[in-house]
């Protein structure tokens, strides 16, 4: 498993909590007024909370011990009012925190998603989808728990802690000091376990992403698994990841289990100190019995938030582990501004490739010193062996990747001077790998709601003679197509991809094996349609089937990233080179009879 593409890249950033907290600030800032209200509610709640034992102590001292029924009733009413106030305040606080927490989470999730949309294709080449989905959903949710539950609650608890601590010191400095003497030890333990827990959570988050990515892949490739009867092998592989996830989680449980016991022991130590020392003070009449009772109540009240905080430490640590991952993704370098640069409107002269070199990975050049021109209005065909670099060429024109060396010039201007948006919109590419989304036919053709155009839709359907396709679908054009178009045939998917490109009115049309999965009758229809719809346009047709390119003005033969031949069909046949060989194979040999 060590070499798997799914293994999460370790995030080893020093990950200062304060640094991460600082990075979350922008998302919190938007909701700061909500948070301020929440904090006010928390402070009020804390004040009342701290006041309650005081009332209780007074009630005991003055009411009960003073045998004053009236005064007792007076304190009882105060006590009831205090509790009611706590109810109102905590309901309001709880709602507000949930609300604000969800909003912060929503903003963060959107920010993450938006950022991911801006990342370059090369990022997606190396990152499994499942891992990204895990970050967008699970990691962000874990982080959100910090805002909705932990952050403010812990700060309220810290307030209570300080309030009670201060109160104890104020009421009786020595007894207060004695009560607080053990706290540093507790902090030390907390700090030690925190580090351990963070490591465990990091591992667990990474394993979750790995498992999720593998799950997504297995689900997508289920039919292949079935056909090759590989269920047991896949199950074993998944089990491995599942186990690793469980073990990572168990490690975090192990460290987590130390906290609360530690708090229990410290509570008892402190309580003992208070009773023994306080009892001694009472016996020497230095303090009243009521004060001792107040102190006992405070000691218990003091360790309650300590326990709450220690329960939250695991939330904090897992949130931090998630935050690291979320922000690592936000730190990924996005593509430069898609709108920056000149707008590409129309092609006047043509496109020129000049000595273009490109490699996906440094050790394997794909395009090697490629030079050629496409004139405006020309239909240029590119043929060549599989893996020759044809799709790559199309991707470069769409600026999916940046080329290292050489130039692509549009009307003599460097391609890189134009904005990516205009290039991507004006260069229509029908990709070799068709991707259909779940949704209706209309949605799949126009992709974005604001581009829907029924007129155009009817036109495309007519031109491509897709009526028969539509009539076969149970609900016509409103039929829901499933994820990846799994309920339509491969050729039908290709037709949809085709209509998609036509719907954008591209200036330059690139067909990358756009008719590879359709029969020749349909292909003829498509060709006619393309001819009509793009008669004035420039087109680049990549195809293996030579019949597909027979109407092209010029043919380039690409071999191993180099241009080996170019010319018209006749010229190339006469030259008796690569093209001639391909041609012979396809048409003359009758399949090697």
């Amino acid at each position: 498993m060590d070499d798997s593409y799914f293994n999460e890249d370790d995030i080893k950033a020093p990950a200062w909590d304060s640094g991460l907290a600082w990075r979350m600030w922008p998302y919190l800032r938007v909701w700061r007024s909500h948070f301020i209200v929440a904090v006010v509610l928390v402070l009020l709640g804390t004040a009342v909370h701290i006041g309650l034992p005081l009332i209780l102590g007074k009630a005991v001292d003055l009411g009960i011990k003073g045998k004053d029924y009236g005064l007792l009733l007076h304190y009882v009413i105060l006590y009831a009012a205090g509790h009611t106030a706590v109810f109102v305040l905590s309901a309001a606080r709880s709602w507000l925190l949930q609300y604000t927490g969800q909003r912060v989470l929503h903003d963060l999730r959107n920010a993450l998603f938006t950022h991911i949309q801006k990342l370059p294709i090369s990022f997606f080449d190396r990152t499994p989808v499942g891992r990204l989905v895990t970050r967008i959903t699970n990691d962000v949710a874990t982080l959100a728990e910090l805002f909705s539950a932990a952050l403010i609650n812990v700060s309220s608890e810290i307030c209570i802690l300080f309030g009670i601590g201060g109160m104890m010191l104020a009421l009786h400095f020595k007894l207060g000091l004695a009560a607080l003497i053990t706290t540093p030890g507790l902090f030390y333990i907390a700090w030690f376990l925190k580090v351990k827990m963070r490591d465990a959570f990091r591992l667990a988050r990474a394993k979750l992403a790995t498992m999720n990515a593998s799950l997504a892949e297995n689900v997508s490739g289920m039919s292949v698994i079935h056909i090759f009867n590989q269920e047991p092998a896949r199950e074993a592989k998944f089990d491995q990841m599942n186990l690793e996830l469980r073990d990572a989680e168990l490690t975090s449980v192990f460290y987590n289990s130390f906290f609360v016991p530690a708090v229990t022991v410290f509570t008892a130590i402190t309580l003992t100190v208070v009773i023994v020392y306080g009892g001694w003070l009472v016996s020497r009449n230095e303090i009243s019995m009521g004060l001792l009772i107040t102190f006992i109540a405070y000691t218990q009240a003091f360790f309650d938030p300590v326990r709450q905080i220690s329960e939250k430490i695991s939330v904090f640590q897992s949130a931090m582990a998630s935050a690291e991952r979320v922000f690592a993704l936000i730190d990924e370098q996005p593509e430069p501004d898609l709108l920056a640069g000149e707008e590409f409107k129309t092609l006047h002269e043509g496109i020129e490739f000049r000595n273009l070199n490109f490699a996906y990975t440094p050790d394997k050049p794909v395009l090697k010193g490629l030079s050629f021109k496409i004139r405006k209005g020309e239909r240029l065909a590119i043929v060549g062996h599989t893996g020759a670099g044809k799709t790559t060429l199309a991707s470069l024109l769409k600026r999916f990747y940046d080329y290292q060396d050489g130039d692509i010039l549009i009307d003599g201007v460097d391609l890189r001077k134009f904005s990516r948006t205009s290039l991507r919109l004006k260069i229509g590419l029908i990709q070799q790998d068709v991707n259909i989304f779940s949704g209706t036919l209309l949605e799949n053709i126009f992709l974005a709601d604001d581009r829907f155009d029924n007129q155009k839709f009817d036109n495309i359907i007519k031109e491509l003679e897709m009526e028969s396709l539509i009539s076969k679908l149970p609900e016509g054009i409103n039929t829901q197509i499933y994820e990846r178009g799994s309920n339509i045939s491969a050729g039908q998917r290709q037709l949809i991809a085709f209509s998609r490109a036509l719907a954008t009115d591209p200036e330059i049309l690139i067909l990358d094996e756009a008719t590879s999965s359709v029969d020749s009758e349909t292909e003829a229809i498509i060709q006619k349609a393309v001819q009509r719809l793009t008669s004035q346009r420039t087109s680049l047709i990549i195809a293996h089937r030579l019949s597909t390119i027979r109407n092209c003005d010029r043919i380039l033969v690409l071999h191993n990233g180099r241009l080996v031949e170019q010319g018209s069909h006749e010229e190339l046949l006469a030259a008796k080179g690569h093209y001639h060989k391909l041609y012979e194979l396809q048409f003359s040999s009758n399949g090697g009879n």
Binding site: V60, I64, W95, Q98, V133, I296, K398, H544
Partner: protein
């Protein structure tokens, strides 16, 4: 581990099943919990003695003993609190591990159709987000239930022992609790179910968007995708807030009930102390016990919340487990007695679930062992559908398919699939090395030479030499770092390496050039002497040597025969052939 949902257990029953293997740990956990709780109810009593002794102005030794007793109870608590967490939380992680395992194992059994209509993101969400909710219940949830019930079963009695009258008065506000619980129970369940469904939507949206990123970028629809995602997110937030509305009232309300108990206690208890009915120590102890009850009270709210949420999630996991597996249709588990790979299809008809029109109508043909069948026909004519039926990815509506003279309905799915090697029309590769992909069906994946020989036969040899890492090249998801043709050939090599009696190629050379295609076909022809072969293609030349060619149109066999016969028939096949030939002629002239 046999977690199954065939007899339709309820979420509750299933939870019990899930926990059953860990009974032992739960018992240990429960024992630890009782020890902890017993130790935990001691301190107020100790406190009572301490205070009463201070009141009476007794000597210091009693105080010291009380302190020691406190420390002892704390030490016991400390140790066992550690164990209780280990046992309960550990069990929860173990149980969800089992659940995830069972879910995945079940997914592996589900039929083709399930995956075509189910969104990947939805499945992912159920296996992570829903399982998370369930884990919460199984871990902290159970712990808290037991803990709270312990307090409910003990503390009131101690209080009764301290002062029956006062305790009864104090407890009156507690009548409110069952009323409140009944009020919120269902709404938490339903709202939580909605939240989980929204979460599934979010993750599906993200999953689909990211898988189609080249289209998204190519058509510059990032903004529209972002706003769609945003809408999904807002719906999620809306439902989540609906849930929060209940939760944020419910929990403080429970606290309030306890608080009123304390108010009542203070008033009546205070009066009783003044009147001399009870000691001040007892009063303080009662007050402490009331405080102790406030935690289990809070716990009730929490448990009800977590319980309802987890049951909603469990239901969603059970939905997967209840899907009938593909093998459910196996009529018998005995191996077929027939031999060979001859195929006979008679009067086969089929309609996709939810489809308007039949996908296949009255298909009949015979193919001898070792023969090659070619299938061609227009887009959407049912070619891939026919292949799917042969491999029993769907069940025929009517008619019969026989392989080796046995009705496929009689052949258990697993043995049936041992007969086929398949190159699907849409290539799917795993993100593993090329070697592992080629040797996908092999036990031993560590045979580079074998992998290489199959790669060569699939015409992939020369490409591999160009890759710096050769066979060990790691593929990205779905093989993104290969060219279209390379992917197709890896898929072909994978099928060849499986070496099964029937080889099915669904348009498997659509993305390769003619030269490579010819090489592949030649190597297949060699291979075909051993296996029965079914080739679907739009390129007529690939089919012309087949023993039988079927021209499908609209789900029906329009024409059938050998290449020669079909040409003589001068029908649609001949016309299609001519069209491809004609081009050649035209181009030659």
């Amino acid at each position: 581990m046999t977690l199954q949902a065939e007899n339709h257990p309820t979420p509750q029953q299933f939870t019990v099943q899930l926990l059953a293997p860990y009974k032992k740990y739960l018992l240990y956990g429960m024992a630890s919990l009782i020890i902890v709780d017993v130790a935990d109810i001691m301190p107020p009593v100790i406190l009572k003695y301490a205070i009463d002794s201070i009141e009476r102005g007794q000597n210091f030794a009693t105080l010291a003993w009380c302190g020691l007793a406190l420390l002892l109870t704390a030490a016991i608590q400390g140790v066992f609190r550690f164990f209780w967490r280990q046992f309960f939380l550990g069990t929860s992680h173990n149980s969800v591990y089992d659940l995830r395992k069972a879910l995945f194992a079940h997914l592996l059994k589900l039929p083709f159709h399930y995956f075509s209509r189910t969104r990947t993101g939805d499945i992912m969400s159920r296996l992570t987000n829903d399982i998370q909710e369930i884990r919460f219940m199984l871990g902290i949830g159970i712990l808290v239930v037991l803990d709270a019930s312990f307090y409910f079963l003990t503390v009131p009695f101690i209080m009764l022992w301290l002062s029956p009258k006062l305790t009864l008065i104090t407890m009156t506000p507690f009548i409110m609790i069952p009323v409140m619980v009944v009020m919120v129970k269902n709404s938490i369940h339903n709202r939580s179910r909605d939240v989980q469904a929204r979460l599934s939507d979010l993750s599906s949206r993200a999953e689909e968007n990211l898988s189609g990123v080249r289209v998204i970028k190519g058509f510059r629809i990032e903004e529209s995708e972002i706003s769609r995602f945003n809408r999904c997110g807002l719906e999620f937030v809306r439902d989540k807030i609906k849930l929060a509305n209940i939760e944020s009232l419910f929990h403080p309300a429970l606290d309030l009930v306890v608080a009123f108990g304390m108010v009542v206690l203070l008033y009546f208890g205070g009066n009783m102390v003044i009147a001399g009915g009870i000691t001040l120590g007892s009063f303080i102890a009662l007050e402490s016990y009331m405080l102790k009850l406030s935690w289990p009270m809070m716990a009730i709210g929490w448990i009800i919340n977590i319980y309802q949420r987890s049951m909603a999630s469990m239901e969603r996991c059970l939905q997967i487990l209840r899907e009938p597996p593909a093998t459910a249709a196996d009529q018998q588990q005995t191996e077929p007695t027939g031999t060979g790979a001859a195929i006979e299809v008679s009067d086969l008809s089929f309609t996709y679930p939810e489809a308007a029109q039949p996908g296949l109508k009255n298909i009949s043909f015979k193919l001898g062992e070792g023969q090659t069948l070619g299938i061609t026909g227009p887009v959407g004519s049912g070619k891939s559908t026919l292949l799917r039926l042969l491999m029993k990815m769907f069940h025929p509506g009517s008619g019969q398919i026989k392989i080796g003279n046995v009705d496929v309905a009689q052949i258990p799915l697993k043995s049936l699939r041992e007969l086929f090697a398949y190159v699907p029309q849409e290539t799917f590769l795993f993100s593993e090395s090329i070697r592992e992909n080629i040797l996908f069906s092999q036990e031993n994946k560590d045979q580079p030479d074998v992998a290489r020989s199959f790669a060569d036969r699939a015409g992939l040899g020369s490409d591999l030499r160009d890759f710096p890492d050769g066979l060990e090249t790691m593929l990205g998801e779905r093989g993104v770092n290969l060219s279209g043709g390379q992917k197709q050939r890896v898929s072909l090599a994978r099928a060849l390496a499986a070496a099964r009696p029937i080889l099915i190629l669904d348009d498997c050379t659509s993305a390769v050039d003619t030269e490579t295609e010819q090489k592949i076909l030649a190597s297949l022809r060699q291979n075909a002497r051993r296996s029965t072969c079914i080739i679907v293609s739009h390129r007529m030349v690939s089919l012309q040597n087949a023993d039988l060619i079927i021209y499908l149109d609209n789900g029906e066999i329009a024409e059938m025969g050998t290449h020669q016969q079909l040409l003589e028939k001068n029908g649609r096949y001949a016309r299609a052939w001519q069209r491809q030939r004609l081009k050649a002629e035209l181009e030659k002239s």
